[in-house]
Symmetry: C2
Subunit: 459 residues, 2 copies
């Protein structure tokens, strides 16, 4: 966002805080009712506990629930602790079921008990049903509130039905059409309804072939389907094709963002977290970083063993040691480029498993181009600078250049093929990013280096 001029959101903060400082609570509440719940939530989070509770209590009931859903879980917990059971029940009944499920997943056990006790029995049943779906499944991110029409309704009946029930739906953009057994048959947008005539029958102007997912599909399938078909709402059906819930595009976008963060963490050899960085404890961050660091460190002892193995031979050519970091670094960088490209392409669907051959062929050619250019650059550099300074010789320059070509080709092949291989056996390709590839390529490139040196220098 531009720093030069205050953006939309900063203006809201400023207005809110100045009204609060002047204790102008009337105008403050009037202003709040007109703002987006997420902005009110952001403003509330800036306040101390007492003032936050005071302002929150002044909000209207439906607005309060919307704001509540947007708050951080620690703030939610604090507010709940100040509510009577009856107030808590009021909030829970107003929340959309997916937000209520998220709340339950984040609260400590005693708060969960209190929430469940305060909820009406029907709500409690619905929440338990949603909580039963496997973590990270479509069922676990869907909401039970949606618009449902029957295919033999007329437009007038449909509008009347929506006017009566629409208030409970999370999105009032699309309505789903079902038969008597609740099988999903089609959809109509509110635009379709607006354009139709009163006596038109839904069945005659609904869209058929509505993309949908099943309750047990992975939540990644949810975000991919929403993004592929540009859906505002994605219906979720059970095994009998009965409509049981919907996922809205904003929840799908959140899933997409979380999946990307998870991928990037895996690429960086970190165990995934579901908390923002600043909210995570030092110990928790440590716990998620240390396992791979240790594994990679132990794997690196292989590299050490390789050096020890060639050590005595190396004695005569100490100069070779000086180029080791450059060769290993280049291998790591070249391999990392390929693995990150392949991992990302797999995750957005630009590459499928069946493309392995095409990827291999492409990477080999790219690697040869890169390797040869880098080999030449190094040869010239070693020849012009290092030889001139009497630290290297022509055969050494040849060894290093040749090693670079072979290392880059090897690194790019390993880097591009490992993620595909890992995906084929059903694991997440993201773990095969730079750190892992580097460790493997380090060892391989040293063997190549010393073998080429043995052959050309006779060490």
């Amino acid at each position: 966002m531009p720093d030069t001029e205050k953006n939309y959101q900063e203006k809201i903060y400023d207005d809110f805080l100045s009204l609060l400082e002047q204790k102008q609570y009337g105008p403050l509440i009037r202003m709040a009712q007109q703002q987006h719940p997420i902005d009110i939530a952001a403003c509330l989070e800036l306040l101390d506990d007492d003032r936050r509770v005071a302002v929150f209590r002044m909000l209207q009931k439906d607005c309060a629930a919307e704001v509540f859903a947007e708050l951080d879980s620690d703030v939610q917990e604090m507010l709940i602790s100040t509510m009577t059971d009856r107030e808590l029940s009021g909030i829970i009944e107003e929340l959309f079921s997916d937000d209520a499920v998220t709340l339950l997943q984040e609260m400590p056990a005693n708060v969960v008990k209190r929430i469940m006790r305060s909820a009406k029995s029907e709500t409690r049943k619905e929440l338990n049903r949603l909580l039963d779906y496997p973590e990270d499944s479509a069922g676990s991110v869907m909401t039970g509130e949606f618009l449902e029409l029957h295919k033999n309704m007329t437009r007038a009946e449909a509008v009347a039905h929506i006017r009566k029930t629409g208030d409970n739906a999370e999105t009032v953009y699309v309505a789903y059409v079902t038969d008597a057994q609740r099988h999903l048959e089609g959809s109509v947008t509110l635009g379709d309804l607006l354009f139709a005539e009163d006596q038109d029958v839904i069945e005659n102007f609904m869209s058929r072939g509505v993309p949908c997912v099943m309750t047990h599909d992975d939540r990644e399938t949810v975000s991919l389907t929403v993004s592929k078909y540009d859906l505002v709402v994605l219906p979720v059906v059970d095994k009998e094709n009965r409509l049981v819930g919907v996922v809205t595009f904003d929840d799908a976008m959140d899933v997409m963002e979380e999946e990307v963060t998870e991928d990037i963490e895996k690429m960086a050899a970190i165990l995934p977290s579901d908390k923002p960085y600043l909210k995570d404890s030092v110990f928790e961050i440590f716990r998620r970083r240390i396992p791979w660091l240790l594994v990679l460190m132990l794997s690196a002892t292989v590299t050490g063993a390789i050096i020890t193995h060639y050590e005595t031979a190396l004695g005569g050519w100490v100069i070779l040691t000086a180029f080791m970091p450059m060769i290993m670094g280049t291998g790591g960088n070249a391999g990392g480029q390929s693995s990150m490209t392949v991992i990302r392409s797999l995750s957005v669907g630009d590459i499928e498993l069946r493309d392995a051959g095409r990827v291999l062929w492409k990477e080999t050619r790219v690697a040869l181009l890169c390797g040869i250019i880098m080999g030449i650059a190094t040869f010239v550099k070693v020849f012009l600078i290092d030889l001139h300074m009497n630290v290297a010789s022509l055969p050494v320059a040849a060894v290093i250049s040749l090693t670079l070509v072979v290392t880059v080709v090897m690194a790019k092949i390993v880097g591009s093929m490992l993620p595909i291989a890992v995906k084929r056996i059903g694991l997440d390709p993201a773990v095969m990013a730079s750190p892992f590839v580097t460790t493997i390529v380090d060892a391989l490139s040293l063997v190549v280096y010393f073998e080429i040196a043995s052959a050309l220098l006779g060490v």
Copy 2:
């Protein structure tokens, strides 16, 4: 997606291809009209040129334009080459303006000329206006087709207006309310319209305080705003707050996906591309990968120089060489974890520039925990295994463990602070990921290693 059962999309492909093989063109077209344009586009892309042209020509005009917008640019170019100017004009007039702009940006100059010549003068003017916005600005991704209402219209007038003009709007979910000078004043969803009474005046039930962006805002601001406020449509205003266009959530999702890919490419030391991997030429991929490889390779010569500098001293302790790769590798991995975490947190907004101090404090503590554990692990390992095999000595084990602690702390501080520093001077933090951090940490960790060795071993 699950491989065990065919998913929604695969079933469509199968049906489509079997109808096509049986030359059942009638049912094929009827089926196509009922499918989502993106599925028809995907099916078309599987066909050879002749059959693709034949099927495309059978589609109804409005459906054809929607399918056309979803096709790959090379297929679009091929289809355009088979169209008369009149047919081309028909497609262009049916396209939404943002899709037409994307088409123009991807076609070669001669095709662009033909498209502009075929378009009606009003369309041409609109396209030129949109093409004038800076690349990657909100203006460049918005569309000019949206629903606009006046605040003093009644609900009945508004519905009549939408029925008349709504067909041209890209989304018929939200309408924007403006005053006589087209200043953006509020919004109503079609749901609001459906729930209102005929004589209600728009002004009285519209939402005020609509989040919006300006034409020159970065497209990243667009996707952040859409995702933050969960908007189906985001209005774009000019400097005078006049409504000039809208961006729909699906285009914002595409922007988000492209930005993530760009970030990951930068993290992998690759210059960003806007083409999918398999469509990019070998030379193009090479051109985007070689610059950083060369820069990083040349920087690695510093590491070489450090080794050369300590070389003579090293002579007596060849064993130290064997641990170099492990120490450098660990530094690179530890620094990469921190830099990738900070880069991602900056990009999703979990960390702001002002949090630099908190990040530094957190990373230092995490680094100490990681460093000490790894130092102990290494000491035990060297003591138990390597000492036993007579390749190391107790002082060597101490040198390596101490070096690891210092290296990890240093790597995590460099890795976490570099992206923040780079962002502060206005550059993209993503370039400060593993490869760059590794190169710096490699050099630093070797200096630490040799200095500690000098002190403890007296080399």
